[in-house]
Symmetry: C3
Subunit: 682 residues, 3 copies
């Protein structure tokens, strides 16, 4: 277990460094992240490298037994470098240079910039690649942030054409894949191809537009690979990672994670815009991050430690809140907690982005809280080692479909990810752990797959899903699934395309539901009527041997009494189709029914609202289990586990029932299994 | 009567063509529109023309007795063409190139592009100009769509200066017309003139700005003329048209229509944003289109046949809805119904723009509905032939005033066209047919003219209006009428300028009414008080021989008890002036009073709300009459005509009273005139 | 006292000029402002000057005893000039040229434009510098209007670098002041510096961004100085001024005013967006303008005289309204009233900006009203001479802090000036006169200083404030005060930084209050609970000899029962700190308590809401006093002064009680002092 903070020695007088290290030591830190924005200090002028200051601080940290994670500093190329050739800047969709002054002001496809990248990374890797105090590397910083994965410069245009040539055999194949015959958009030669830049309107051909998104994501990944290769060459025993932002979606983080030893997360659970559902908001990012590498533990390389803010601030964490979020992170699979940042900076656009220490640098309430966590983690570390969360349910989040819906929301205001989150909310609220996976992940071991809006899927994926259901899995999907080919064309098969047989249904007719015209649906199991919005599909039950059967029907409109939700037994499993967007009650009713059939249970039964429970299980020895119970609410709550257990933080025995204060956390171990906590020993 | 669909053979495998033609034939199609976006297939490389595929499909269509309307493909210039010279692209107000990827990415004034236009149109005209299966030509596509009539490139600047030289004798005349002495904006030479492009603020001189709008409209028209001239030269017996969008206003469609044999309309009655007043929304477009050529029948070259949508979809038509809109179109003067499109395209930005067939291409419910209409139209065609709607009322919609109000709305949120539509709504809701005409139209035969916001008018127009009233006509106009000269200067005459005598009033004082400060007005006839918004004018009754008299007075503010609405007997007629924007009740009260005096009646009395009735009358033989009754509501309604008639679709005799289902339509003929249906035999 | 209008002889036929002068004379005008947009008439081509027309109209005015204020015409450079070199145009943040068509389309730092400026101003100054009919000069027009003080062109970049070199000793000093070490933004050489132009995001380094704002303001001031120097050289006995807009904030008008003989104001009290608080809206601008030169009288060079409007109109003044606003201006220190404009122009973007005469040019109700004012002012002028308003309270408005909050509002939606106005509203509503001053003003003679959000202050200012309190003054400030250094870095001192001792408090913890989470505060004096929004600070009372004491405490959250507002006796005075944004009741409660302690009283006790009272006091002889009572409401009100006085307009004796009609005004003098009107004889 790593525990520490992001530290920027270059921001502070060298006289202060040792005092900081001492304070960190007292808070039980064993790691710092450094240097990821220090390019201008590491290479002050072209080809002139200065690692001496970084050597000195790493030495100081060593003295206090604090290891270092180094960032490659490529997210912040210095002014002298950008002045060499303005072509290195990104251009926006209008062709305007996105100039100096923020960060990531470079084009991933610019070969000159790649050359500078190679040089600084090589120099650092050579210098620190065998330093035993350096335990890992973070590549660049938060790929895809502030809309920086998509550039419209000339060299991106050339790279895009190259990418298309690699993907498609011929220009005819491009024309066919995109359907350029529409509106006279046929290309005769490769060099007639172009980026989806500013035009009469911004609704470019969906095939072109989706390929450009894929290309942009690949460009970022290719740029990362350039760095990974250098690091692999020069380093020994150091882990390579990248700090992803769970929900940022300009880059396919499943791809990004492939090359890495492990993936990391930057998490700020308490951001202004997410007032209502904070715990789920952060939990989802953890689950997404774990899923980037198929369900494996990860690091948190930036963990909120105060009010974030650039020009406007987010809320200031109340006492106990930092500790609470920290335990949520660990409970969901974080094996490193690195707070951002050690001390609040008095200058720059991040001067309101608060760290553990305030601007004046003296320990205060946040430091004391972090220190307490440090002390507790000293105790927990051996128990946590070799454990990770486990889930019987997987949600599938697919960047390609997310992008396709961004390009064509189908219905005003519709968002793939918001829709995805209605399913996530179900499992979070029911206390059922989930993994969030790529459609290309290995589904072995899961019992229930939920794949909202699987509008396009590779053939392999479709086959895997058929096999999954044949073998006894439950598969839930919904509207538009199967409606498109992988090239973003609509299928010419009858809907739902390749899923027709698995689901046993046909769809001839569909449409939007406008804002003020919600449609009723009746759950045939419960008899309850709820409303549906956004989209409807008129579902035909196909005359197959084992026919699909309705789970809910519409209660109005010209498709009244026809199925809105269906299920079909297929092989040993079951395929469920939801043809509309039920409201929360409607959706939860359907999911309750299916989940109950599968026998999947929550981590703990009967938890009060706002209390989160997660288990970390030993990977080798499944009997090793830690239960985390976290009170996100503003009130104390009573928890009843109906069994004796041991408080891992106090080493005291706890009877099954206890009071958990607001913001408080329990980490519990159990001597014997108990039926009352099904998931814990499932 | 033409009946068919837009067909894109280039989008589908040639093997499929004949099957499509067969299905069309079965649906009683007799026409298709083709080729209006096929430039890259007709001229795949510069100077290389390929009409063979188009020849083949026209042949196939011929085999099934289906005629062809050809579009000139100039709205979609191919990439190879645009790559020749990027100067052909339009520039936006900031000087940014509106690049490839949508359509209409060309500048109307670029001579190189005009040359390419000339060549492709000449080639097509030569090839098809005497083909008897080709019955007509559509020029380009939807002029003015997506803000494409106004370009800010260098050659537009030159063309604008040329246009100004042609319009004004001297640079001094320009300076005087625009009043450039204000703020030191005087021009010394022609080449100092410029477009109203991006500046410190976008409020350019109103004279300059209005002339630029006129110039842009003229540029489009000039570009059309280029094509019309070629077609006139090479074709025989083929009609020339353009598919206008009724309410689009970047181009003056009165001008566009002048050169054409007939005008056409693209109509999508059920678009998302128009939820509430759909029937009037489409009806208005029909009436506008009919008015583009002074009240003559027209073609519908794109008629909705499914849910439209680019990135978001509009509602899917419910069963019966396509048929209902089709009859509305015919009732209001359409002599051709061409559905857009035959089959939904699986690719491109229009992949969600649904046609008669779904993506998979097999007949479904929409095909069956269209087929039913086809069958019915076979019966109706002889009856429809030589008939058209007739109106005793004309509304005047003037692009120049619409533009002037766009440039200076006078009051925040004020829109000329929305105001126009409050008058349109009155006549639509009262069931009184209207024509929507240019201020330069021939007013002969009308009994009531309504000209909202006739802020500027040519002297001829003013004289025509005086004559119209002298001869017994009723003329209703309202605030700001007469306030401006044709050059967009405010008149230095006392208000309402040239209309002072006709209306018998003077206006010294006026102002806006702010959002929360509605003013009361009392109808002196009914005594009812309603509210007025947006604008007030303080009206003086001039001491003339036959004085104007108030119809309504204000009930508050410093102008309390002064006239808000006046009328003056003039000649044999009457001039009515409304100095404010009464709410619906207030306006309808005034109009009811005037309409009742004129003796103008609705098509049918006592129709339920949401039921539309229109009559088509024989142009030569006025006794030939077809009554259309259309139920736009979601419920069945009872209609009572109080007279026997014949159902033209079933040939059955119908007693005067019948039930009309939701979405349903009756087309009726009458053996004898009846007093109960005044308009029908007026 | 000057009284007149803005007159544009170049807009009207020369035949009309004398008629206008006659009408002006009849309205008792003694001044016109002319020529400030006449560059193209004064220099029709390069180097060709024509003053003859201006000579003629000045002559005509002379004939009617009307003096002239001349504007230098530099806000409207002619097209021939701008065509010389397009580099003279301003560039926006994206590098786009802000082209011809509005005004102020020039870059203040362009040396070529400065040369043209020098030439025209020199020519005018030579020609009119000794003309006794020309009494003053207005430099340019409304600096900072329409976002024209900030340009992003190359020569601004160079000038900015020059400005930085002048300000900072070395590039290292720049790096340190801004904290460029953050995110690798260090500059090595002067030429690497740049403007805060379009970048990946627009949140540039706060030090850079604030310095750019200061530089821009200085550039404008430097440009003004260029003109002032010329005028000083060539003119004799003519006053130099500039017409500022009180609340426009791109230029520091304290700086602008320094070079000038007096400052002027353009005031339009009745603009649409300010419906609710009109009287305070205009009053604030008057008080600000008076404060630009530390509390001295000023001119109004544009005074509303009709409905203003460019593309949309603001409300039309009701009868009596122009007179009412005129008296408000005079009561608050205006020594010249120049209406904008004489006659409404029939063309140009200001054709809806209404003047005294309507477009047709004949006298109407507004002329008659102005004429009445003219007559009254003839009487008042001797009484007004040598008098000005006096205040015991000063509010501090600081451009540097306003800019810093614009750059970083801290909390979504927070605005410095809106917050400032909650304090202004208190004093306006309580009827207590205030001066609005620079933080660098002389505070001598004031008894209460209110400095909201004094986040950064120069050391001199801080010392002056300590001295002010020591000497017995009351000082009220609030959250974030002392939080920053003058270079826009956050202080590394413990908060509230340099104000710690004065206020006796420490602040370790703070945060935003989100929209729906208002916090309660209880006034310990009144016991009343009100709500607070936006921001909270957790205040520690420092263990000092004379401790601060709470005036109000929070009623909820983790800082419940801790102080929200404190006061500390310091020296002979008192320092008050408000750590949050109380609602109106909460703030007024605190201020009432403090004001009551100071003994500061309103001008008149017991005035009805919406009635404004101001006193002008003799500067030399304080016994000379004029009381203005202005009824801004729509109803007549009763005023009771409890003492006899004399109506200065009618010369009649008035008993202390009288009725004041809606829109009406009284100007009163008193024979003897009376206790009932404390401020009047305070």
């Amino acid at each position: 277990m790593y525990f520490g903070a992001c530290y920027y020695p270059e921001h502070w007088p060298e006289e202060r460094w040792e005092a900081d290290a001492q304070l960190m030591k007292e808070a039980h830190f064993n790691v710092v992240r450094m240097a990821e924005f220090a390019w201008s200090r590491l290479e002050p002028s072209e080809g002139e490298f200065d690692f001496s200051w970084l050597d000195r601080i790493i030495k100081i940290m060593e003295k206090y037994s604090i290891k270092t994670i180094l960032g490659t500093p490529t997210a912040g190329p210095p002014k002298w470098l950008m002045d060499k050739n303005p072509d290195m800047y990104q251009l926006d969709i209008y062709g305007r240079t996105r100039g100096f002054g923020a960060r990531r002001h470079y084009c991933f496809n610019n070969s000159e910039f790649q050359m500078y990248t190679e040089r600084i990374v090589t120099q650092m890797a050579r210098h620190y690649g065998t330093n035993s105090n350096v335990i890992g590397w973070q590549i660049d910083n938060e790929f895809g942030m502030i809309d920086t994965a998509r550039c419209y410069c000339r060299c991106c245009c050339e790279a895009f054409i190259g990418w298309l040539r690699w993907k498609y055999d011929s220009i005819e194949a491009v024309n066919e894949a995109w359907g350029t015959v529409f509106s006279s958009q046929t290309y005769r030669t490769w060099d007639e191809l172009h980026l989806p830049a500013y035009a009469v309107h911004q609704h470019h051909n969906p095939g072109l537009a989706l390929d450009y998104r894929r290309f942009s994501s690949d460009s970022v990944n290719e740029y990362q690979r350039l760095q990974v290769n250098i690091l692999r060459h020069y380093t020994t025993g150091q882990l390579i990672t990248h700090n992803a932002m769970g929900k940022y979606n300009q880059v396919d983080f499943y791809d990004v994670s492939k090359e890495l030893d492990l993936i990391s997360l930057d998490v700020y659970p308490n951001m202004k815009s997410e007032l209502k559902e904070r715990p789920a908001y952060a939990a989802e990012q953890h689950d997404m991050t774990r899923g980037f590498k198929g369900g494996r533990n990860y690091w948190v390389l930036e963990h909120q430690s105060g009010a974030p803010g650039a020009v406007e601030m987010a809320p200031t964490p109340v006492p106990g809140e930092l500790r609470r979020w920290t335990y949520q992170s660990i409970a969901r699979g974080a094996d490193a907690i690195v707070y951002f940042r050690w001390r609040t900076l008095p200058y720059s656009i991040e001067e309101l982005w608060h760290g553990i220490l305030q601007h004046h640098g003296e320990p205060g309430r946040k430091y004391e809280e972090v220190k307490q966590v440090g002390m507790e983690l000293m105790k927990l570390a051996p128990l946590l080692s070799g454990t990770s969360p486990r889930a019987r349910v997987a949600l599938i989040r697919c960047y390609n479909n997310e992008w396709a819906f961004e390009l064509q929301p189908h219905r005003e205001g519709y968002e793939y990810i918001k829709h995805f989150e209605t399913y996530y909310a179900y499992f979070y609220e029911r206390g059922i752990p989930v993994d969030i996976l790529s459609p290309e992940a290995d589904f072995t071991g899961y019992e229930l797959l939920v794949a909202p809006n699987l509008m396009m899927a590779k053939e392999e994926t479709v086959h895997a899903l058929y096999r999954f259901v044949e073998d006894g899995g439950y598969f839930i999907t919904d509207f538009r699934t199967g409606a498109k080919e992988w090239n973003n064309q609509i299928t010419q098969k009858r809907l739902p395309g390749m899923f027709r047989d698995l689901l046993g249904i046909g769809i001839e007719d569909y449409g939007i539901i406008e804002g003020d015209q919600a449609v009723g649906i009746r759950n045939l199991h419960t008899g309850r009527v709820s409303t549906a919005n956004m989209w409807y599909e008129v579902i035909d039950l196909l005359p197959l041997e084992s026919a699909a059967e309705p789970m809910a029907v519409y209660t109005s409109n010209y498709f009244k009494d026809t199925p809105a939700v269906t299920r079909r037994a297929y092989g040993k499993g079951c395929g469920v189709y939801i043809g509309t967007v039920p409201d929360k009650k409607g959706l939860f009713g359907i999911l309750d029914q299916i989940v109950s059939e599968t026998g999947i249970t929550p981590t703990l039964f009967g938890l009060p609202e706002g209390v989160e429970a997660m288990v970390r299980v030993g990977t080798d020895d499944r009997r090793r289990k830690l239960l985390f119970v976290i009170n996100h609410t503003e009130d104390a709550v009573c928890i009843n586990l109906d069994t004796m257990c041991r408080d891992a933080l106090t080493d005291r025995t706890v009877s099954g029932a206890f009071v958990l204060n607001s913001q408080d956390v329990r980490v519990l171990t159990f001597q014997q299994e108990t039926k009352s906590i099904p998931m814990l020993f499932g």
